[in-house]
């Protein structure tokens, strides 16, 4: 089974997770087209 990155779609939630996990945020801006 293929692995996938578990992307969040909300920067505020990512900041919360970053505080809890003490990890930096990887923020990817992408064009879906």
């Amino acid at each position: 089974m293929a692995l996938n990155i578990c992307w969040l779609d909300d920067l505020a939630k990512a900041k919360e997770h970053a505080r809890q996990t003490k990890k930096p945020i990887l923020l990817d801006f992408f064009n879906p087209q």
């Binding site: 293929a2 692995l3 996938n4 990155i5 578990c6 992307w7 969040l8 779609d9 909300d10 920067l11 939630k13 990512a14 900041k15 997770h17 970053a18 505080r19 996990t21 003490k22 990890k23 930096p24 945020i25 990887l26 923020l27 990817d28 801006f29 992408f30 064009n31 879906p32």
Partner: protein
């Protein structure tokens, strides 16, 4: 990125282990403007307060993506004055991806991190010497040029 790099198993494991990943569509003009993004892919590394640590514009293949963001994570620790952790990330990038475009930056920040941890300027001189020997054309070698004046 979505077709080649992000589906790569090594990239998936690396990202999930080291980062909180968040993906924002370019239609989100508020965030695009906040981060002054005018072209994608644009990838930022932020601390938990949203402060930018590193950013890259344009495609990165898996073998460049991983060392690029190893160095970025090293800079995250470096900014937090967590020098053993920072040096661990720079060392890993140099050990696992010695020929990547990120390797010269890893050498540079390794030297600076060692200097900040020990206050011994010989670490800066050593970084300059490694850069001139291994990466003579790199911008990081030019940025380290003043360290050649530090006595051996």
């Amino acid at each position: 990125m979505g077709a080649v790099t992000y589906p790569n198993d090594k990239v998936v494991k690396f990202v999930d282990y080291n980062f909180v990943p968040v993906q924002i569509e370019s239609s989100n003009t508020a965030l695009m403007n906040q981060f002054k993004v005018t072209w994608t892919p644009a990838i930022f590394v932020l601390d938990a307060d949203g402060n930018e640590i590193h950013h890259v514009v344009g495609f990165l293949a898996p073998e460049e993506f991983i060392p690029t963001f190893m160095v970025a994570k090293g800079k995250y620790y470096f900014n937090a004055e967590q020098h053993p952790e920072a040096q661990g990330m720079f060392e890993a990038a140099l050990r696992d991806y010695p020929d990547s475009d990120a390797a010269a930056e890893a050498v540079y920040f390794m030297g600076v991190s060692r200097f900040k941890a020990t206050h011994d300027p010989k670490n800066l001189r050593a970084a300059y010497e490694t850069l001139t020997a291994k990466f003579p054309g790199s911008e990081w070698t030019k940025r380290a040029a003043p360290y050649r004046l530090i006595p051996e």
